[in-house]
């Protein structure tokens, strides 16, 4: 979000929802304790993920591990957040990790693509160079033949034709 929401902002057709909660219905503070691997999150996860392991991989930006642990299967339901005794904002961390993961996958695809493009270009340039060389050799052969013909004509002496 680019601005701090305030009640001056109108409800538009792009507004997804408005939550009207009292202060004791929402989370009061966001201080957290370290993950104690209690497994409460894994216990409630409807996608049967292991959020405690995903958390470590997400913080380490270990995309291979995130893929193996099934980050993209996370449906962002928020159950793990609510049961976490360490008050870790897991859903938010996974949401960000997904963005980073998508960017990573896209980067990998792009770099693979540009590698292919580079290889194709190299191949093309090599072929062009080959062709040029052949042409040059043909030309050279033609010139040499013409010079030869002229020389023979001179040797036969004088003005023919």
């Amino acid at each position: 979000m680019l601005w701090n929401p305030s009640d001056d902002i109108p409800v538009t057709k792009g507004t997804n929802c408005i939550i009207a909660a009292t202060l004791d219905e929402v989370r009061a503070d966001y201080t957290e304790w370290p993950c104690i691997r209690c497994g409460a999150c894994a216990n409630v996860c409807p996608a049967r993920l292991q959020p405690q392991e995903l958390l470590i991989a997400a913080r380490a930006r270990d995309f291979a591990a995130l893929d193996a642990l099934g980050l993209m299967e996370c449906i962002e339901c928020g159950c793990c957040d609510v049961v976490c005794p360490s008050h870790i904002p897991l859903t938010e961390i996974f949401r960000r990790a997904k963005t980073a993961y998508r960017a990573h996958v896209r980067n990998v695809e792009l770099s693979a693509e540009s590698e292919q493009r580079h290889l194709r270009r190299e191949e093309r340039r090599r072929a062009e160079a080959e062709q040029t060389k052949q042409l040059q050799e043909q030309l050279k052969g033609g010139i040499e033949a013409a010079v030869e013909r002229a020389r023979r004509r001179r040797e036969r002496g004088g003005d023919t034709d």
Binding site: Y30, W33, C38
Partner: protein, 344 residues
């Protein structure tokens, strides 16, 4: 009016780490009271010393690491470690035993690995194992339970405290007059020496299943364990698997040779079987995380405990079994991940 921005979901968390740790301490309270009743006030002295040493060590190292001491000390995990360590050591030891155990548990096993949540090994069991190996004499100073017909000299609370602080017994007493071998020790040495288990069990230190006094403490530990299960602090997989790991081999071998192997009831109600099953092996940080992993982890601890008790060099094996299985946890976790919903 401006609003704060916060990530979804906005609902309040249901639990907190301090609440979890507090519940563990509540669950230990009845057993602690029984412990004091049967084995004297040395337990309280040890608990106070161990807790103080644990909190000071944790605070000092958090300070060195530049972490918020108030926030981290409030989580109560150091107190749980101190309490478990106090249950593990004899109630009648010099003051530096609980200090050494606590400092080793918190400084080496916990903070050097990165503090709460990062330790590979159960801190209380690292402290206990270090004590057991470094100070084997002090760690065998178990006093017999307070039972009318057991013949021994009972120290007053004052004498116990004096011994804790100065390491001196009243002049008319010797260590042998005050301490006794534990039931596990008696059975181990007896069976080794060729005595029949059923004959050893006739001794005045033995009750219905395990040692007298010990049985009651273990009943209350099981009660605390059921409270933790009911409150959802722990789940059933590790306790059930660990108890099965102890009970299945002990039942089979006891049925085969009733005099050469202790009965399953004795194993269940002696030493740290129940404390281990409900309070030590269930430490989430150093234990396996998935359900199948927890069954393997708990079962391994049970089997190793039984093996160390029966064929090993120590009368009880819970601490070493827990530490060995702690080392296997990353491997267990790796191969027991549940199938992700919607994937092959």
């Amino acid at each position: 009016m401006e609003f704060e921005v916060a990530p979804a979901p906005h609902s309040r968390p249901l639990e907190s780490v301090p609440l979890v740790m507090r519940r563990v301490l509540y669950a230990l309270a009845p057993a602690a009271i029984a412990y004091v009743w049967f084995f004297g006030t040395g337990f309280i002295v040890n608990l106070a010393i161990a807790s103080l040493a644990a909190l000071l060590t944790e605070g000092a190292i958090l300070k060195l690491r530049g972490r918020s001491t108030r926030h981290s000390l409030r989580d109560g995990s150091a107190l749980v470690t101190a309490a478990l360590l106090t249950f593990a050591i004899p109630p009648f030891v010099p003051w530096w035993i609980p200090v050494f155990g606590s400092v080793a548990a918190i400084a080496i096993a916990k903070q050097l690995y990165g503090g709460l949540g990062k330790n590979f090994f159960n801190p209380a069991m690292v402290g206990y194992a270090l004590l057991l190996i470094s100070f084997p004499v002090e760690m065998t100073q178990w006093v017999p339970p307070r039972m009318g017909d057991i013949d021994y000299v009972r120290l007053t609370s004052m004498q116990n405290l004096t011994y804790s602080v100065t390491g001196e017994l009243p002049p008319e007493l010797t260590m042998d007059a005050v301490t006794r071998a534990t039931p596990l020790d008696l059975v181990k040495e007896g069976v080794r020496g060729g005595q029949a288990f059923r004959a050893i069990r006739g001794g005045s230190l033995f009750g219905d299943f395990g040692g007298r006094g010990w049985e009651w403490i273990n009943n209350l530990i099981a009660l605390g364990g059921f409270y933790l299960l009911y409150m959802g602090v722990i789940r059933w997989h590790i306790p059930v698997a660990m108890l099965a790991g102890v009970l299945i081999p002990s039942t089979v071998l006891h049925l085969v040779d009733p005099d050469g192997f202790a009965s399953p009831g004795f194993h269940l109600f002696s030493g740290a079987t129940l404390l281990g099953a409900f309070f030590i092996a269930t430490d989430p940080v150093s234990g396996a995380a998935s359900e199948r992993g927890r069954l393997i982890f708990g079962g391994g601890i049970g089997l190793l405990t039984y093996a160390i008790r029966t064929w090993g060099g120590y009368p009880d094996g819970v601490a070493f079994a827990v530490l060995l299985m702690n080392a296997a946890v990353p491997l267990i976790d790796r191969y027991t991940r549940p199938r992700i919903y919607g994937r092959d």
